[in-house]
């Protein structure tokens, strides 16, 4: 009987060790990825990277300015499509549609969220690229929006569900119409959580490569129209990394570093908003 406590302590120590090891195993890849990218990419980050477009093969230098611009434009465009659809859809699900149709929407959103992104790209290809007879930024944005919609829809829905019903009732009982209650009370209360969801959705699509492969295609130069192929950071990373030139490899690493920093910042921002006091 006397020895029981020490066995218990040993067990406890072992389990703690195991858990620390498991935690390290989770964190290690993140650390390795970050350190590696930093090592390979940091040296190629310069002002040129943000202001120049890629140089033709054989010349040194150049940057990914067109890719940065292209990614920004396409993310903005897909947000323009994805955010209203996602948020309005969530509002419909929680505030208006308590019916079978709503269940169907919810199910479709879940399925859509699970579709591999390369398939989303193929769908945008058949629906937009083929009829428009060319790759375009527009098609890229639509493909990204298709990825964004279910994420925004479901996170917004979760946040709206957290708003207590008594708050909605307080507003309605004052003679405030349902749509105003939804906008000014329900959505306003869920604001921080919804913003967090949006930031995470943007972080997700910022790194998507596959759906852009057969939609936006990529571009070595500046694009002048949304109906032309457009560069994007993940596409440039992909193209440069598989090219046989040492110079391009370096640029690819620099691009990877920038992308990782952007996504890291978005996640941090999301956490910051998520932590803000939620009024409920």
């Amino acid at each position: 009987m006397k020895r029981t406590p020490s066995i218990r302590l040993i067990k406890n120590g072992l389990m703690t060790l195991l858990m620390v090891a498991a935690t390290l195993a989770v964190l290690a890849p993140l650390g390795i990825i970050f350190v590696h990218i930093l090592k390979m990419g940091a040296s190629s980050i310069s002002l040129d990277f943000f202001t120049q477009i890629p140089k033709p093969t054989g010349e040194t230098g150049g940057g990914m300015a067109n890719g940065l611009a292209g990614s920004t434009i396409m993310i903005a465009m897909s947000s323009l499509i994805g955010l209203p659809v996602g948020i309005l859809g969530a509002v419909y699900l929680t505030e208006y549609g308590h019916n079978r149709f709503a269940d169907a929407i919810r199910f479709s959103a879940d399925v859509l969220a699970g579709v591999p992104s390369i398939i989303t790209g193929m769908v945008a290809y058949t629906l937009l690229v083929v009829p428009m007879k060319g790759f375009s930024a527009l098609a890229g944005a639509v493909a990204l929006a298709l990825i964004m919609i279910p994420i925004v829809l479901r996170t917004t829905e979760e946040q709206l569900k957290l708003v207590p019903g008594t708050l909605r009732e307080a507003s309605l009982a004052l003679g405030v119409p349902l749509w105003r209650t939804t906008l000014q009370v329900t959505l306003a209360s869920a604001r921080t959580g919804i913003i967090t969801g949006i930031l995470l959705a943007i972080a997700r699509i910022a790194g998507e490569t596959a759906p852009l492969l057969f939609t936006a295609l990529g571009n070595q130069f500046w694009s002048r129209k949304l109906t032309e192929p457009m560069a994007a950071i993940p596409l440039q990373i992909f193209n440069f990394a598989i090219a046989p030139y040492e110079d391009w490899h370096k640029l690819a690493w620099a691009g990877a570093l920038v992308l990782v920093v952007i996504m890291f910042s978005l996640s941090l921002a999301a956490r910051y908003f998520g932590r803000q006091k939620r009024y409920s």
């Binding site: 009982a173 209650t181 209360s189 409920s280």
Partner: protein
């Protein structure tokens, strides 16, 4: 006494649950009517049908007529929003808008409908807070969050918010159940004053409270109206055996 609100064969179903059964009742104007009865007998359901809160519950079905003065508030041509402007409601748990200041909570009905005139706001806030006897307690911190108030203060704020939009009828669903005796006393005094200007309908579990504040009392049991009459009579010489059992606590 003049009748303000009339229930004519009111029935409420939630799916297959027949929660309110064929209730007909006249609520007198400028007086306080208490609705009493055991838990689950349909008190809240009756109250909520008066400002069309069931419109938002998909399974709820309301039939019969509810006349406010001479209009049936369930008439197809009637906008539920307009009904709720005339029939305000105070809830069981104080529910001020958490993101708004005390000041903004009082004028929330105007703010949220986009009809607040800057010049009127101060007057409305002061007079309504005075009416609910909250002015002296909060006049120096009108811009602070309403969530910093005590439960009793929050409930008085909710009443101020309700009277600010000048309804004709005020519904109260157990407004004191989350409050201590002193805060309860303050609300009861307030109800007494409110009836000069408004028709008050209050649901309560507290027999003494019903006896203290109300002029008429309606006793419900299992979705049916068992007895309705002057409070004095209901509490001294009720006609129905069930009423007597309930108010004397010999129920069940």
């Amino acid at each position: 006494m003049q009748t303000k609100v009339t229930l004519e064969n009111l029935n409420v179903h939630f799916g297959s649950n027949h929660a309110v059964k064929d209730v007909s009742l006249d609520f007198p104007e400028n007086s306080v009517t208490a609705i009493i009865g055991p838990s689950g007998c349909g008190k809240s359901t009756v109250l909520r049908s008066l400002n069309r809160m069931h419109d938002l519950v998909p399974s709820a079905r309301v039939t019969g007529r509810i006349m406010l003065d001479n209009t049936d508030i369930y008439d197809r041509a009637v906008d539920p929003v307009a009904v709720r402007r005339r029939i305000g409601m105070v809830f069981q748990k104080p529910n001020p808008f958490p993101a708004m200041s005390i000041h903004d909570n009082v004028v929330a009905g105007y703010k949220l409908t986009g009809s607040l005139k800057r010049s009127d706001a101060e007057d409305i806030v002061e007079s309504c807070l005075k009416r609910v006897a909250l002015w002296d307690e909060v006049k120096d911190r009108l811009k602070t969050s309403a969530m910093d108030l005590s439960g009793g203060q929050q409930q008085r704020l909710c009443i101020a918010r309700t009277i600010a939009v000048q309804p004709e009828v005020i519904l109260m669903d157990e407004p004191c159940s989350a409050l201590d005796p002193i805060a309860t006393l303050k609300i009861e005094e307030l109800i007494e004053e409110l009836k000069e200007q408004y028709t008050v309908i209050i649901v309560t579990h507290n027999m003494q409270q019903a006896a203290r504040v109300s002029d008429s009392t309606a006793f419900f049991y299992m979705g049916e109206l068992i007895e309705f009459g002057l409070t004095k009579k209901i509490f001294t010489t009720p006609e129905k055996r069930q009423t007597e059992d309930y108010i004397t606590g010999r129920f069940g």
